[in-house]
């Protein structure tokens, strides 16, 4: 069973494309595409947050650190998805329990990470700009989740 791994990787990558783009095993064209997604996402933030130079100097290092911290979670997400895909046709109850446990752990850690870094950004930026960032980040994550979940069939 395949769920279009590149499509999923691309979508997941939207959360941390700069790091993901360096992954081995992807064709050159795909790496270019991933880099483009990364550039686009950063451009969206740059265009919409209206940061001053001083704010930018504070914001981007925190944001880049956040993206880097997301990478291991994205790797675990893809690994769990691959496990689910490989075992999909013969998924046992133990397999389902393990996939579910890992899925919920990743989601919990991802939410905590988002909250932690939004709090850091809120200390570095004026609260209204931090709120704007939180809204944009939530929109991006919503889009990615919708598209990723739409590609994954229900367990049977």
């Amino acid at each position: 069973m395949r769920f279009g791994p590149l499509a999923i990787a691309l979508l997941v990558t939207a959360l941390s494309p700069a790091v993901q783009a360096q992954d081995a095993g992807l064709a050159a064209d795909e790496q270019i595409l991933l880099k483009q997604i990364s550039t686009n996402k950063k451009a969206v933030y740059a265009a919409n947050l209206g940061l001053t130079e001083e704010e930018s100097a504070k914001f981007w290092p925190i944001y880049d650190e956040y993206e880097a911290k997301q990478k291991p979670l994205q790797d675990r997400f893809l690994a769990n998805l691959n496990t689910f895909a490989e075992k999909y046709d013969t998924l046992s109850e133990d397999d389902a329990a393990a996939v579910l446990k890992e899925k919920m752990a990743i989601e919990k850690e991802g939410a905590a990470l988002k909250q932690k870094y939004t709090a850091k950004i809120a200390k570095a930026l004026p609260p209204k700009k931090a709120l704007r960032y939180a809204q944009l980040e939530t929109r991006v994550q919503n889009l990615v989740q919708r598209d990723v979940y739409s590609l994954i069939p229900l367990a049977r």
Binding site: A111, L131, L154
Partner: protein, 157 residues
């Protein structure tokens, strides 16, 4: 159905439709009624999708209804965040923005925690494959609706 589910998502995502912002917040009674209607619709979708046996339905529904009751409280708190966002939108202060972010994350966190809590409860009663299906359905519904809801929320100025 779609409109109801989108409105549900607006609560779930803590978004506020522009029409809501224009009109001011819904009354508390309207919100409660809307949440109840949405939860009824959602229950039907979940039961239809999971295709449980009679015995599994007997085990699932009391736990699911308990989950819905707890989730209703989370959604009600979510609607209060929307009201706060709408009330402050035109003249958002830094303090209001801080409060809204804090409340937003608390409600989101509680929503995720509830799904996890009830997945664990369901695992004691149902095959893990069915529980995984339930979590997938919850996620798919929330994800679909969150996108539409968030897209209708203006970005803070």
């Amino acid at each position: 159905m779609k409109k109801i589910l989108i409105a549900f998502a607006a609560l779930a995502a803590l978004g506020a439709a522009e029409s809501t912002l224009a009109q001011g917040a819904n009354t508390r009674d309207d919100t409660e009624l809307l949440i109840s209607q949405i939860q009824t619709d959602k229950r039907a979708i979940v039961l239809s999708t999971l295709q449980l046996t009679d015995a599994q339905v007997q085990a699932f529904t009391p736990i699911y209804d308990e989950y819905q009751r707890e989730m209703k409280e989370v959604f009600t708190r979510g609607s209060q965040v929307i009201e706060k966002f709408a009330a402050n939108y035109g003249s958002m202060t830094d303090d209001a923005a801080k409060d809204i972010m804090k409340d937003f994350f608390n409600v989101r966190s509680d929503r995720n925690a509830l799904v996890e809590k009830y997945a664990k409860k369901l695992q004691k009663e149902l095959p893990a494959t069915k529980v995984l299906q339930w979590v997938q359905v919850e996620n798919k519904l929330n994800a679909l609706l969150d996108v539409e809801a968030a897209a209708s929320v203006p970005i803070s100025r």
